[in-house]
Amino acid sequence: MSSPAEPRRPRWLRLEGPFVLGLPAILFLMLLFVGPVLRLMLMSVEGGSLAAYEKALTDGLYLRVFLDTFEIAAIVTVACALLGYPVAYVLTTLSRGWAALGFACIMIPMLTSVLVRTYAWMVLLGRSGIINRTLMDWGLTDRPLALMYNLPSVIVAMAHVLLPMFILPVYSVMVRVDRELLRAADGLGASGWQTFTRVYLPLTWPGVLAGATLVFIISLGFYITPALLGGGRIVMIANVIENQVQALLDWRFASALSVVLLVATLAVQAASNRVQAPRG
């Protein structure tokens, strides 16, 4: 079929166009991401010993921190889902102008540094912070409440930081849902709740899953918010890794902890890819 002027080329060469276009990004990632990660993995088995992994996976202290990290990430994910799903839905119902305003309210905080947003929570939650002062002015409490330096404050601040990461993927799925389907369900006699659980939720589920996966995975690596709002008692795995690198100079163990975190993150990603949408 091919003309004699254009000899048959092997398959991989026919892909050359897209491949060449992607080459800079691929090289960039290989050089600056894959390379260092491989070095990290090598460092974790320095001296041909798996002792660092044995310690990371059997020592109660580090297991505790891993479990706490997963627990915090899970709570933050659920909080983002409960808060973000209705917001994403409301955004789909707004007129163009109001939706733009709504997106600005979501995007501007997202583009603000995590450090600044964490400090903002410290101003709100502190013993002489805005919330405590208001409560005392209104006579609702006579001494400042301990709102900060505990688990709830870390979760509130993390959920605030990560909320846009949930809203955006969910929104992108919701706008593609055909409204006629909801009207059809209504016309066939389904209640509002049934329409939601049997039509709308299954149709938007891929967005929920994508948003939840994103929030969960980013939560796993959170460092600055627990460091500032946790008061030293709420410790996530990134804080432990930092301490091993900076204070204790045990880079082999820090690498092992990092690799365990990486594997756990990939496992979460893989699991989320396999989860099917619930059937109505």
Binding site: V65, N243, Q246
Partner: protein
Amino acid sequence: MTESKRISRRDAGRWIAGLSLTAAMISGGSRAQEPPKPRQIVVNASIGDTLVATRKVYYAEFERLYGIKVVESGPVSLAKLRAMVESGNIEWTISEVGGEDAIRAEKLGLFEPIDRKIVDMDALPGAVGQRKVTLARGIYSTTLAYRKDAFKNGKYPQSWVDFWDVKNFPGPRSLRGRAIDTLEFALQADGVPVDKLYPLDLDRAFRKLDEIKPHIAVWWTTGQQPAQLLIDREVVMTSGWNGRFYKLQRDPASGIDTAWTGSMVKIGTFGVVKGTPHAYWGQKMLAVMNDPKLQAAYAEQVGYPGTHPKSWDYVRAESHRYFPTSPVNLPKVGWTNDEWWAANGGAVEERFARWLLAR
């Protein structure tokens, strides 16, 4: 016309300066062997108020003396220093390291030996004068600081025994989220004299820490936290590096003061980074940092006194009460045992982390 004239006159001035400098170098004998001057050297040191003072006092003097620009870098990080030396990609000419890290840095071979012909090490007292690779430039201490308005009748906490006394001195507190700077205070609260702390009795220290744990609102992790916690009224007293309270305690309006009894003193050190191409000029910078007059000027600005015994001749008498090792405060403080921490730090810090996370 006038413009070009002015320039040529300035050029002439430079020529004359250059000639006289050359003449000085030739006549100076040993100075003629100086390695060529780089355009700049990089000094890695603590950031914040101390950096402003370091620039004003030491870097300005170095630039004035040698005409080499000093580029600032920070914060202090033994991990980064080690990564730099091990990778052979040396960005810093000299670097600060804190307390017990001086010994670890020496063991890891991260510093060039001190050139005693350039740096007057003999002027320094005792063991610090014998150090091989690090210059002990300044003193800092971890000290008890408190809010005066949190306590009635002018009865303020005066020691670590008072820090542990939650009946007479109620209110939330803060301590460092590390074993170092914390275990020593627990032992003092339990009655161990400040000069008999080492080797630390760990079981006893952790038992005493159990007592205070419910009253610690925040375990601080960065140096700027303690002063901020006091200012924000998050805690009524805390441990912290004394320089962080220095400006506050000199300002009566701040309502914040320190108690020197039982402060743990450490030495802030600088070394010439192994493999730097400008080692000679790094040594020259160490010599500038060892100048007692400059050390006194630096102390007045940030509250961290010098190590050179003569530096006290230049510190104003009314400032003495703000420095951990001034003649008035020296009898009250203890010295952190860097060797003990360098040898035991890893295991002890891990035990502390375990203790801190236990519910």
